[in-house]
Assembly symmetry: C2
Homo-oligomer: 346 residues x 2
């Protein structure tokens, strides 16, 4: 089996980590856990040439400067003329690869604590992908989360299972049932595909998309380490997620169990938790980044880009100071960060 | 009876309203409640020439620029060569006044909500002072406060009572007894004295202080609206509060009942309460000064000198942003503000 080709997807610019995350410096390009940015950590995870080949990054033009700055000039990069969700982005990577290559599709906006475990799972997923399966990573759930899609596993396969069913984001009661059931995992957006098999599936399920991507690649051009698909055929693509366009309709969907400290860092409390697991907090569960003084505090997170933050007598509160904005929120309240005037008006 | 002469004392530079209050711009010179500073409000309260004569301010050199800026060039000002607590400051004012003048001694670091009631109480106090009493204003207590001294009233007088006893800051159990008793009031540091009677009492109780102040005034000089006592005799004064030096030892102590929305604004929660009474808050008890957005908040106070503050899902929390410092505290925690590195290191 040839080496695994990491495909790093850089898209989106969520508002839930405002004011740290902004349109001009979105989440993947921030050092949220540790000293390396999430994008750099995605590259680092696949930086083992006994397992992985040279990665390919798929991103929009707006992110190219950050990618070059953080990933270097030689990093292979395919630049989407327009954002079209994940299915066309993966198809683009597949069309640029050898049909026999196994692609490991990695979002760049999440954190994985246990890199060794990640690589072990990637090998299992690659073996199934090599055999023609469309492989999702099934993140082991540790709570009744209503913010993610779920995957129900079916019959056993070597290193994994067939996928019985994909489930949209459930309500809390169903999420609790899923957690108790044991056969459900989270869909974290990490996949493995053999490039040729993926394009065959896309051709079967979304022939228009497959043709548009093929045309955009045939009429596109490499310039050094950068590939630009032709904008005209790309512009004809109807954007769609890989879940809808390929995974839910295929007869060859598989899931591999993934327990490696995954977090999508989808909110400030999630980031606090990821940082706590990464170390550096105090014994009262407080975690501080930047100049701060905490007195009589528990489970308080402070992040400041300069101004000193003094906190007294609080529990479970998050304080973020960034670029002239000050956010103070409870853990529950953090779900509303994206709705703030500041976050929506950035 | 001649007009009442307001004596405005400007001293101290507490740390409990840090980071808003700093050494360079102490509490009296901040617009903490409404648009006028506490010092200006002290002047405004006595700005009624049917009752009051021209005020005299007693302060240290460090505060002169702020006093001139906020009070004008013509305001009469006596500048203490060194801070010596309240007894010498009042003696200085008394020595500069006509012996028959009634002095109304007003600290400039507290807030009074009901100016009309204040003036009515001042007239009662002045009448007693005119008759030779040393008159304290007895603030009607509304809680078992342990941070103030108490005054127990004795036999009735016209418009007030004799003072039975002064009590130092009590513990909580005693404060609760005082509140239940009904005869106790807070000593808010507001007094009325006939100038000559005050100097006679001081001469009887603290002859050294009386002589030193008299010498400092005799050897001092007016320059326009500013009086400077001679530094050498002033330097010999042992600083002492008027409570110890005069009030506790006199046989002519009186108290007038004072219910006019007094607050010493001794902490951020006290300021929040004073502002709430002053209006401008929302129906959930939140009060905002500066650019801020509050979502799902109750009894939250925000004060910012520029950066936008966004607060979500909190109750009873105070957020202050000032001069590159950010303070986030619970109401109880606010008692510890003065102990913060930022507050003590300013």
């Amino acid at each position: 089996m040839s080496k695994i080709v990491p495909v790093i997807l850089c898209g989106g610019s969520g508002t839930r980590l405002w004011p740290r995350s902004r349109k001009a410096r979105p989440k993947p390009f921030l050092p949220l856990v540790g000293d390396r940015t999430l994008f750099q950590q995605a590259l680092d995870r696949c930086d083992d040439d006994t397992l992985f080949g040279a990665p390919l990054v798929v991103a929009g033009e707006a992110h190219v400067p950050l990618i070059r700055e953080q990933g270097g000039a030689n990093l292979r990069l395919a630049v989407e003329p327009a954002a079209c969700n994940t299915a066309p982005a993966i198809a683009l990577a597949a069309a640029l690869a050898d049909p026999h290559d196994v692609l490991l599709v990695c979002p760049s906006d999440h954190h994985i604590a246990d890199v060794t475990a990640f690589r072990a799972v990637a090998q299992k997923a690659a073996a199934l992908a090599h055999d023609g399966y469309m492989v999702a990573f099934g993140i082991a759930p540790d709570r009744a989360e209503t913010g993610y899609g779920y995957i129900l596993r079916g019959g056993e396969l070597p290193g994994g299972h067939r996928i019985e069913r994909f489930v949209e984001k459930p309500d809390l009661a169903r999420a609790e049932q899923f957690l108790a059931h044991g056969g459900y995992s989270w869909n974290g957006g990490i996949f493995a595909f053999r490039a040729g098999a993926f394009l065959d599936e896309l051709e079967a399920q979304r022939p228009d998309m497959a043709r548009a991507v093929a045309d955009a690649v045939a009429q596109g051009a490499w310039s050094g380490s950068r590939f630009d698909p032709a904008p005209a055929p790309w512009g004809a693509i109807a954007g769609e997620s890989v879940d809808y366009a390929v995974m839910e309709g295929t007869g060859h969907a598989a899931v591999v169990p993934a327990a490696f400290g995954w977090s999508d860092i989808g909110s400030w409390p999630a980031l606090h938790e990821a940082r706590a697991k990464d170390g550096g907090g105090d014994r009262d569960g407080n975690h501080v980044t930047g100049p701060a003084e905490l007195v009589d505090c528990r489970n308080v997170m402070v992040e400041t880009d300069g101004p000193r933050v003094s906190v007294i007598g609080l529990e479970g509160v998050i304080v973020v100071v960034d670029g002239g904005e000050v956010l103070v929120t409870s853990a529950d309240g953090a779900q509303l960060v994206g709705k703030l005037t500041g976050a929506s008006g950035q």
